[in-house]
C-alpha cells in the first residue's frame, strides 16, 4: 500500500508553509523600509548634491574607466605573483618555526624573528622602507622599479601573516596523527608532507584565503611608490578633472576583484562547519 500522510502531518505542513510565507513577507517589508530610510537620510544631507556631482558622475566614470582598468591589470599581475610567493614563503617559514630538528634551530630563530617583525610593522611603512630605502642604497644590480619593490614589500609582510596561519594549522593537528605516521615507519619529513601539512592546510583554509583577500586589496598600496596601478590611475584622472568619480570606479573594481575569493572562503568555511557537525556521531 502506498504511503499517505496523515491529516495531522498535512496540517503541520500547511502551518509550516504559512509560517515561511510570513517570514518572507517580513523580510521584504523590512528591506524596503531600511532602503527608504537610508535614501532619505543620504539624499537629505546638506552636502548631498555636491557629493553626487563630484563622486557619482556618469560622465567622468566612463571617461576614467579605460585607464583605471588598465591600472587594475597591473594590480592583478602584482597580486598573482605576490600570492604565489607568499604561499611558498609562508609555508616554508611555518615549517621552519615548527621544526624540532636541532640542526635547524638557527632557521627557527630567524623565522620567529621575521614573523614578529613583519606582523608588527605597518604595511605602509614596509612599502616606504623597501620602495625608497633600497633604491637609496644604489646597488646597481637591484632593479629600481616601483612595481617590483612594491611587490617585494607585499610579499615580505603577507608571508609573515600566512606563515602564522599555517603554523596554527600545523600545531592544531592532533599529535596522535604524527605518532601514527611515525609508528608506520614514515620519516619525519614524510610525516610532515603526507600527514601533517595536508590536514593543517585544510583546517586553516578559510583564514588563509582571508589573508589572500586582504593581499588583493592591499596590492593597491603600491601606488604610494608611484606604480601606475588602478588607484594611481584614478588619482591621475581625478587631478585632471577635479572630480573624484575615478576613485569610486577603482573601488568598484577592487570589490569586484575580491568577491570570487570571499565567496569561495565563505563556502569553504560553511562546508567545514557542516563536516565538523557530522563528525559528532560515532
Amino acid at each position: 500500500m502506498s504511503y499517505k500522510p496523515s491529516s495531522l502531518q498535512l496540517q503541520r505542513e500547511d502551518a509550516r508553509r504559512r509560517a515561511s510565507r510570513r517570514s518572507t513577507l517580513i523580510a521584504a517589508v523590512s528591506t524596503v523600509a531600511f532602503g527608504l530610510v537610508a535614501v532619505i537620510v543620504v539624499t537629505g544631507a546638506p552636502g548631498f548634491d555636491r557629493v553626487r556631482t563630484s563622486f557619482f558622475s556618469a560622465k567622468y566614470a566612463s571617461h576614467a574607466l579605460p585607464t583605471v582598468f588598465h591600472g587594475l591589470l597591473l594590480n592583478l599581475r602584482v597580486l598573482i605573483i605576490a600570492e604565489i610567493f607568499v604561499l611558498i614563503f609562508g609555508l616554508l617559514i611555518a615549517v621552519a618555526r615548527t621544526t624540532k630538528q636541532p640542526i635547524l634551530f638557527p632557521l627557527r630563530l630567524v623565522a620567529t624573528f621575521y614573523t614578529d617583525l613583519f606582523r608588527g610593522l605597518p604595511l605602509l611603512l614596509v612599502l616606504l622602507l623597501v620602495g625608497l630605502g633600497i633604491p637609496g642604497l644604489r646597488i646597481t644590480w637591484i632593479p629600481n622599479s616601483a612595481v617590483l619593490l612594491g611587490t617585494v614589500a607585499l610579499i615580505l609582510t603577507y608571508s609573515a601573516y600566512v606563515a602564522e596561519v599555517i603554523r596554527a594549522g600545523i600545531e592544531g593537528v592532533n599529535p596522535a596523527q604524527r605518532q601514527a605516521a611515525r609508528a608506520l615507519g614514515l620519516s619525519s619529513s614524510q610525516t610532515l608532507r603526507h600527514v601533517v601539512l595536508p590536514q593543517a592546510i585544510r583546517n586553516v583554509l578559510p583564514p588563509l584565503l582571508n589573508d589572500l583577500v586582504s593581499l588583493q586589496k592591499d596590492s593597491g598600496l603600491i601606488s604610494v611608490l608611484g606604480a601606475v596601478d588602478a588607484i594611481r590611475a584614478a588619482g591621475i584622472e581625478t587631478a585632471r578633472s577635479f572630480n573624484f568619480t575615478p576613485y569610486l570606479v577603482a573601488g568598484t573594481f577592487f570589490v569586484l576583484m575580491t568577491i570570487p575569493l570571499t565567496r569561495l572562503t565563505d563556502w569553504l568555511a560553511r562546508r567545514q562547519d557542516a563536516k565538523q557537525k557530522q563528525q559528532g556521531r560515532w
Binding site: A180, L184, Q199
Partner: protein, 248 residues
C-alpha cells in the same frame, strides 16, 4: 621456538616517576601476549618503548636478535617492521581507507601503487571491508575504523604487532568485531603484544598474560593460571575490580 622480541631489564622514567622498572620478557614467534594492569600501570609506555616512540632509560630491546635500543639505530626502519595500533585517532582523516593502508607500503617499503592497492584490497576483502575502500575514515563506525587501522598495521607484514587498548573507545557490539579480527590474526600466526581490559578475550586468545603493577611484572604465566588462579593480592584486587565493573 624463535624469539621475535626480547626485552632485558627495561627501565623508563618520566621525570622522577619510575614507570617501568627492570622489565624482562621474551616473546616467541607466533605467540599472543596480553598485558594487563590498572590504568597508569605503564602498558602504553611499555609498547611505546618497544616501537621506539619513547627513549628508554636503561636496559635493552632486541628485535630478531638485533639490538634496536642501541644508539644510532635506524628507528624508521625498526618501526616499519613493527605494526602498532593505538586506542584512537589512528587513521589519517584526509586519506581514503585505501590510501591509509597503502601509504606506508608505498613510502616506506617502496611497493608500487598497483601492488600496494592490490594487497590492500585483498586484505579489506578478507576482513569484510572491501566496499569501504574508497570511503573516508569519518564515514566509518568506530569498530570499522579500528579494523582498518589493524589492517593498515599488518599490510607491511610486520614481525610483531602491538595493539594498545584498541577497543577501549568502542561500545560492546563494535568491540566484538574488532576482537574477531584479532583472533583471525592469531590463527594466521601473527606475533602480538596486546594491552586490553577485555579479560574474557584475553583468556581465549592469550598464550601468555603479563600483569603490570608498580612498574614491574607482578605476575605472569598462562591465562588460566593468571586469570583464574591469581597468586598475589594485587592481581586479585585488580581482577576483582574488573569483575565488579562487569568486564570479567
Amino acid at each position: 621456538m624463535r624469539t621475535v622480541l626480547e626485552v632485558k631489564n627495561l627501565r623508563k622514567c618520566y621525570g622522577s616517576e619510575l614507570v617501568l622498572d627492570d622489565i624482562s620478557l621474551a616473546i616467541p614467534e607466533h605467540s599472543v601476549n596480553v598485558v594487563i594492569g590498572a590504568s597508569g600501570s605503564g602498558k602504553s609506555t611499555f609498547m611505546r618503548c618497544i616501537n621506539l616512540l619513547e627513549e628508554i632509560d636503561d636496559g635493552q630491546i632486541l628485535l630478531d636478535g638485533e639490538d634496536i635500543s642501541a644508539f644510532g639505530t635506524n628507528m624508521d626502519k625498526v618501526r616499519s617492521n613493527i605494526g602498532s595500533v593505538f586506542q584512537a585517532f589512528n587513521l589519517f582523516p584526509h586519506l581514503s581507507v585505501l590510501e591509509n593502508i597503502t601509504l606506508a607500503p608505498r613510502l616506506v617499503h617502496g611497493v608500487s601503487r598497483n601492488d600496494a592497492e592490490e594487497n590492500a584490497m585483498a586484505l579489506l576483502k578478507r576482513f569484510g571491508l572491501a566496499e569501504k575502500a574508497r570511503g573516508y575514515p569519518d564515514l566509518l563506525s568506530g569498530g570499522q575504523q579500528q579494523r582498518v587501522a589493524i589492517i593498515r598495521a599488518i599490510a607491511t607484514n610486520p614481525k610483531l604487532l602491538l595493539l594498545d587498548e584498541v577497543t577501549s573507545a568502542l561500545d560492546p557490539v563494535l568491540i566484538a568485531e574488532v576482537l574477531t579480527l584479532i583472533a583471525e590474526l592469531k590463527s594466521e600466526g601473527m606475533t602480538m603484544v596486546i594491552a586490553t581490559h577485555e579479560m574474557g578475550f584475553a583468556k581465549r586468545i592469550a598464550d601468555h598474560v603479563i600483569f603490570l603493577a608498580d612498574g614491574k611484572i607482578h605476575e605472569e604465566g598462562n591465562p588460566s593460571e593468571i586469570l583464574n588462579n591469581p597468586q598475589t593480592d594485587r592481581l586479585k584486587e585488580f581482577l576483582g575490580a574488573l569483575h565488579s565493573a562487569g568486564r570479567l
